[in-house]
Amino acid sequence: MPDLDNLIARLIQNEVDLVVVGGFAATTHGVTLVTQDVDVCCDFSPDNLMRLQAALSDLHPVHRMPPARPPLELAPESAGDFKNLYLDTDYGQLDCLSSIDGIGDFEQARQHSIEITLPEGTCRILSLDALIRSKEAMNRPRDREAVLQLKAIREQLDGQP
């Protein structure tokens, strides 16, 4: 059974440098769509990826795209080889991306993020406006519905009309 709250909590507690993006970020902004995974844009430096691996170590993390689903076994010298990590864990799916459509790389995502407080600590999520840009760039049917909601939320927060 996915436990996305605790998946995020693990990342926070292990000080993984990341920005929550995608559907989970949309949820924190008020979107009503339910998502079954967590997407993060993160620093792909070896140090950060080793913290990520430590955060997931007892959750049986595997690479979910290859049919053999090999376990996540990063070493500092090879951690820099990855551009994205598509993982499955006991707490649910976690996609770690080095860049996101419409925004750019991790540093740009970080610049366009806000900090929120969760019971486990603080966490950075993509800002409402950046999330709209990202979802517009992806433009899948699900993204289009999220954009409708996000724009309505932006308008409501701006006090329009």
Binding site: T27, G30, T32, E145, L148
Partner: protein, 61 residues
């Protein structure tokens, strides 16, 4: 969805979402919550959806 007479006028983006069929009362409810409360509510919704899916799988097995 029926609109109450005392509802304030909404902007074009709000109306576009409403016209698309989105239940805007759910968004209003979400906006009254803190981000942490939204995350918790999402978790409960996901758990419920998955439990129902599992129950349907068992029924159809």
């Amino acid at each position: 969805m029926a609109k109450r007479k005392d509802q304030p006028a909404k902007g074009p983006a709000w109306r576009a979402a409403e016209d698309y069929g989105i239940d805007m009362s759910l968004i209003e409810s979400n906006l009254r919550k803190t981000p942490a409360e939204r995350v918790r509510a999402h978790s409960r919704a996901l758990a419920t959806a998955l439990a129902l899916r599992e129950a349907m799988k068992k029924r159809n097995a």
